[in-house]
Every structure is written in structure tokens, then in C-alpha cells.
């Protein structure tokens, strides 16, 4: 029985990258006080746009741009309804998911059966990529490396930059932020659009780096996991990364254990991600103070920026 662990790590990382990208975007959106449940929908819009672009002869950079723009377009609709019209964020976000799923499967019908002519391929770092166990960390594609850098960038932006401070204050108390002269709505739009572009990037990853073909619903509900990750991580970028790896890891572990012939019930293995979810939720909820301290105080509440 061969017990090579490297395929397991590779598989966990591959599953974690798109979750990480989408969750970082949602994290910024939520830190500005907006709960966007439309991540799954925006991911599918991004996946479709990127796939359509590549199929019609665009290069990878253009396809990525198309994916980001499509995700952001979905976010713009959400932003208009929730920021300008103060509609319910929960209902609007859910509608966005339904809309994105519908549009992508309707337009995507024309692409069923197509393989992506160009895809994001791994770019191994010589010397590091062959280290057993952690090698896969140095064998990512360009989106993967960018996602890793984005963890630090988002952290720096939120915690160390003036714009980040403004964004956070909008998420904590929009009325105070406004009284200090901040353009609350403008900042919120920016945060929502960033979240949409990141979700679109995650969708692009599924279409052009992971599956590399068009299949309906190819994001398989991972937008919801990205959403959950933000809460698990108590709105902190580094913890989002750990959570994404954990989730990618448990799914991969269940499959990997089967291939090496470990005699554990496959039903138990299939329920691993859910068991992990419960454990993490329990551990987070155990410290209510911390949860309340970290959650943006104005999250989910409509704000009338009267001008």
C-alpha cells in the first residue's frame, strides 16, 4: 500500500484556492457592512464570462478580466438594490445567486461539451515544487500565487491603510462615518464591486484552471462555503486562508483515504466536511465576546445615506 501524501496536499490546495479568492472578496464586502449572499451567483457569472471569452478566441488575461467584470456586474446590481434603494440584503443576495445560476445555465447551454482552448496551468517553482509533502504549494497557477499574495494584501489594506480604516468604520457605524465626512455609499459600492470581482475570479478559476470545460453548475455550491468561511474566520484574512485549506483538506481527505484502502465507512468520510463545520462553529461560538467584537457592527443593516 503506497501512502504518498503529496497528492492529498495537492488536491487540498487545489480545492482551497477558489474558496480563498471568493472568501477574501466577501470578507471585504462584509467589513463594509454588507452581507452579500450572492457569491455563488457571481462566481457562476464570472465562470461563464471567462469561459465564453476564451472560447471565442480571447487570451487568458482578457478571459480573466471578463470573469472579474461579470462578477462585478452582478455585484453592481446587488449594490444598487441594497445601497441605493436599501433593499433587504439577504433577499437581494439570494436573488443574485438564483439569477447568476439561471443566466449561466441558460447562456452556458451553448458551451456544453466545449473544452477550454487555453487554461491556467501550474507554474512550478524549480527546487521547491518537488519537496515531498509541501511541494504542491509551489506548483500553483498564476491565480493561485495571486490568491496567496492577496491574503497579505487584504490584511494590509484593512488594518494598515487609511482607506481600509475608512472601509471598516463604514462597516461598524455608517452614521458616525458619515458624520466624519466619509462618502458611505461610495465606499460601500467599492467594497461590493471588489467582492464581485473576486467572486468572478474564483469562477474563472473553476472554469479555466480546475474543470477546464463547461458544465452546468460547475461551482457546485462552493460559493456558500466561501460565505461560511468568512464567518468561521471571524472576518480576518489569515484565518480565511486556514479555513479554506481546512475545507479543501477534509474533502480531499475523504477521497484520499478511500484510495489508500483505509477501512473507514465512506458515509463517515463523506460527512467529514460537515463535521468540521460543526466543530469550527462550536469553537467560534464558545467565545461570544470575540465573535461580537470581530463582526462588523452594521453588517446586514440598511443605511440611508441621505443626500
Amino acid at each position: 500500500m503506497s501512502l504518498s501524501i503529496t497528492p492529498l496536499v495537492a488536491s487540498a490546495i487545489a480545492a482551497a484556492i477558489p474558496l480563498l479568492i471568493a472568501a477574501l472578496g466577501e470578507l471585504v464586502t462584509e467589513r463594509a457592512g454588507l452581507l452579500n449572499l450572492g457569491v455563488e451567483g457571481m462566481m457562476l457569472l464570472g465562470a461563464l464570462a471567462a469561459f465564453a471569452a476564451i472560447t471565442h478566441g480571447a487570451g487568458l488575461p482578457v478571459a480573466l478580466l471578463a470573469g472579474m467584470l461579470a462578477g462585478a456586474a452582478g455585484a453592481l446590481v446587488y449594490g444598487f438594490l441594497t445601497i441605493s434603494l436599501q433593499a433587504s440584503q439577504v433577499a437581494t443576495g439570494l436573488s443574485l445567486t438564483i439569477l447568476g445560476t439561471g443566466i449561466s445555465s441558460f447562456i452556458g447551454r451553448g458551451y456544453v461539451g466545449y473544452r477550454a482552448p487555453e487554461t491556467f496551468e501550474p507554474l512550478p517553482i524549480p527546487g521547491l515544487a518537488t519537496i515531498p509533502g509541501i511541494g504542491p504549494l509551489f506548483e500553483l497557477n498564476v491565480l493561485g500565487y495571486a490568491a496567496v499574495l492577496a491574503i497579505g494584501a487584504v490584511w494590509y489594506f484593512l488594518q494598515r491603510s487609511r482607506w481600509g480604516l475608512e472601509l471598516r468604520s463604514v462597516g461598524e457605524s455608517p452614521s458616525v462615518a458619515r458624520s466624519l465626512g466619509l462618502k458611505v455609499n461610495r465606499i460601500r459600492y467599492a467594497a461590493v464591486l471588489f467582492g464581485g470581482a473576486m467572486a468572478g475570479t474564483a469562477g474563472t478559476y473553476y472554469a479555466l484552471a480546475q474543470l477546464k470545460m463547461w458544465q452546468e453548475g460547475l461551482t457546485s455550491g462552493n460559493g456558500w462555503i466561501a460565505l461560511a468561511l468568512v464567518v468561521f474566520a471571524t472576518w480576518r484574512p489569515a484565518r480565511v486562508a486556514i479555513g479554506a485549506l481546512l475545507f479543501g483538506g477534509v474533502t480531499a481527505l475523504g477521497l484520499w483515504l478511500q484510495t489508500v484502502g483505509v477501512g473507514v465507512s465512506t458515509f463517515a468520510l463523506a460527512s467529514l466536511p460537515y463535521v468540521a463545520t460543526i466543530l469550527v462553529l462550536v469553537s467560534i461560538s464558545a467565545d461570544r465576546q470575540a465573535l461580537r467584537r470581530h463582526a462588523p457592527a452594521a453588517l446586514g443593516k440598511p443605511f440611508f445615506d441621505g443626500d
Binding site: S2, R115, Q210, Q215, E216, G217, S220, T259, T266
Partner: protein, 361 residues
């Protein structure tokens, strides 16, 4: 208030459905409905059913019109969808996944004048007819090709749920391969879903990571084939012809052919004599086949597949002894064959399949 409105609406729709049946004339097309577990765009199982539906519509030339409902979960939702279709005046309802069995039976009780057809199940009723395809026949033929093509001697299966329908395909695939090379073993990964391209791909990659070099899947998407293409190993198409999804990796496709059956059921309904006969067809009946064999498959393998295919088409049973179980004990003695009932309730692996079948002690 709300409740009574709802009941009123239900009564009206049922009454209208009843009238619809009463005044149906020869000129008016019969309505048929198809319930799908995945999207038509899965390129596999549901796509094959939809091809069959289209073939039926074409053959009937406007005498039957059909509607579809995609992505219907195998849960309580299924019953609601099926009930709704029956209430809307559909006279033929095809429920095309194993998990719709109990929902179909429940709704059928309330609509005795509607004919229900349930794919791959084992419970029938006066107006519920079962139809199924012996996919283990093309799986066996695929195994022969796998036996010729595998260099590592390790085959892999991305499997959905440990039900007899899937277990017998794993067994047949392994038997076909071991007929060519008795040292071959098969690894199985259960993904607990029919359609989840991401998970199916992960499972395929996990198998490839353990040295598997020929994959087959008993799930509904082409993701495992695509994974094989990327990793430079081989795989098969399942349910539909999947050549286009991974032309280099694709060795052949085990396909379902539902058009003939759907046409027969529709013609019978038009003639006013509903088809009530349970069908479990295979290569012989033209309900499935192994097609699009890759040119790289050596001539010897092709010939062996053609010979075995001819035997099966001529009535030879795949599960004919001697067949040994996983632990080497004789399960089917030489000269004996498994009966349909035994095949339909099979819960053991043949020799060469690794790992423990979930749910078995």
C-alpha cells in the same frame, strides 16, 4: 384564509386536469413529462435521457409534446415536482433517477389515470412501470479495453452510491479487465453524489495519485475523463458519448440509448394502450452499447471486444461462472449464471476489487 385559497387552487387544477383527459381528441397532442436528476448539460446521464426524449418527439411527429424539469433533488422535492406535473395534465411521466422511486409510487397512487415510468428502480405499481438498462454489459466490454491498456495494472472507479446498479458495473468492469490480465486490481472511490463535477474530478485525481492509469466513472459528469486527459492517463465516457471532453484520454464510451423505449411508450399511449411491460434491456435490445473506441486501442483488444459483444448480443450472460468473490471464495460456480434477481440485489465485490464495500461487514 391562505390555506383555503391553496386548497381551492389545488381543486381547480385537478379538475382542469380531469377535463383535459376527458376532452382529449386525436388531434390534441398527448403531454409527456421528464424529471431529470441533473442538468441536460451534464453531458452524461441526463443528456442521454434528453436525447431519448428528443428521438421520441421526432418519431411521434407532434402527437406527443414533452416538457422537462431539470436538477430535481432525490428528496421530498421530487414528490412535489412529480405531483405538479401530474396535476398539469401530463399523461406520461418519466422519472429518470433511482432516488425518485418512492416519490413516483406515492404520486402514482393519487393519479391512477397517469402512466408513470421509473428508471432503474425495483418497485412497480399498476400505473408505475420500471425500465432499466444493463449498463454492466458495456462496462464489461470497457473492462476488456482497460485490461489491454493499463500498464500499472491498477484501474479506478469514481462511484456514486453503493447500490446494486453501481456495484455490478464495478464488478463487470473488473471481470472484463481480469479476463485480459488476471493481475489487475480495481480501486473504488465513493463520492456520494450523482453529479458534482468538482468532487468527481477530485476523486479521479486522488485515484490517479495512487497509480491508477485507466479510470471509469459511475457518476453523471465528464469530469473524471477530463482529469485523466490532464494527467495523461486513460478513461471512459459513461452514459453519453464523451469523446469530445477528452479526446486523448477517451478509450470508449458506454452509452445509454433510451430513444427506442421512450418512442414505444409514447406510441402505446397514442394508441390508447399504455405500455406496462417492465424492461431491463442491454446490448441485445439496443438499449446501450460501447461506442467510439479510440484508434489507439490495439487491434487485439478491438477484436476481443467485438467477439464478446457479439456473444452478449446473442444472449450470453456477463455474470456467468466461475466468478470468485473478493476473498477468493467461489461465488458463482462454473456453468452457472446469476439470475436477474441476484444481479439486481448484488452486494459483494468480485475478486480484484480493492477496499470494503460500504455497508458490508
Amino acid at each position: 384564509m391562505k390555506r383555503s385559497t391553496f386548497l381551492g387552487a389545488a381543486v381547480v387544477s385537478v379538475a382542469m386536469a380531469g377535463m383535459g383527459l376527458g376532452i382529449a381528441t386525436a388531434a390534441e397532442p398527448i403531454k409527456a413529462a421528464f424529471v431529470y436528476v441533473g442538468p441536460v448539460g451534464d453531458g452524461g446521464w441526463t443528456y442521454a435521457h434528453d436525447l431519448g426524449r428528443k428521438a421520441m418527439e421526432k418519431a411521434l411527429g407532434g402527437k406527443v409534446v414533452s416538457t422537462i424539469v431539470e436538477n430535481v433533488p432525490e428528496s421530498g422535492d421530487a414528490e412535489r415536482v412529480i405531483r405538479d406535473l401530474a396535476a398539469k395534465g401530463n399523461k406520461l411521466i418519466f422519472t429518470t433517477s433511482f432516488g425518485y422511486m418512492d416519490s413516483t409510487l406515492k404520486v402514482a397512487k393519487s393519479f391512477p389515470k397517469v402512466e408513470f415510468y421509473h428508471a432503474t428502480g425495483f418497485k412497480s405499481a399498476p400505473n408505475v412501470t420500471i425500465y432499466n438498462s444493463r449498463m454492466y454489459e458495456p462496462a464489461y466490454l470497457a473492462g476488456i479495453i482497460a485490461g489491454h491498456m493499463s500498464k500499472s495494472g491498477k484501474l479506478g472507479v469514481v462511484a456514486s452510491f453503493p447500490i446494486p446498479e453501481v456495484v455490478r458495473n464495478i464488478n463487470a468492469y473488473t471481470m472484463g479487465a481480469r479476463m485480459v490480465n488476471p493481475a489487475i486490481t480495481t480501486k473504488v472511490v465513493w463520492v456520494s453524489t450523482w453529479y458534482d463535477p468538482t468532487k468527481e474530478r477530485q476523486a479521479a485525481e486522488a485515484l490517479i495519485g495512487q497509480g491508477v492509469d485507466v479510470l471509469i466513472q459511475n457518476t453523471d459528469s465528464s469530469a473524471p475523463l477530463q482529469a485523466a486527459q490532464d494527467k495523461g492517463v486513460y478513461a471512459f465516457g459513461w452514459d453519453s458519448d464523451m469523446t469530445a471532453y477528452g479526446p486523448k484520454a477517451h478509450l470508449a464510451s458506454a452509452i445509454e440509448i433510451w430513444g427506442g423505449y421512450y418512442t414505444k411508450a409514447a406510441e402505446a399511449a397514442v394508441a390508447g394502450k399504455p405500455l406496462k411491460q417492465t424492461v431491463w434491456g442491454g446490448i441485445k435490445e439496443g438499449m446501450n452499447d460501447l461506442v467510439s473506441i479510440n484508434p489507439i486501442v490495439p487491434e487485439a483488444a478491438r477484436k476481443q471486444v467485438a467477439d464478446k459483444r457479439a456473444e452478449i448480443a446473442g444472449g450470453k450472460l456477463v455474470f456467468t461462472g466461475p466468478i470468485k468473490g473478493q476473498d477468493g471464495t467461489m461465488k458463482v460456480a462454473a456453468g452457472k449464471s446469476l439470475t436477474d434477481k441476484e444481479i439486481d440485489s448484488i452486494n459483494w465485490y468480485v475478486e480484484g476489487v480493492e477496499g470494503q464495500l460500504p455497508g458490508q461487514k
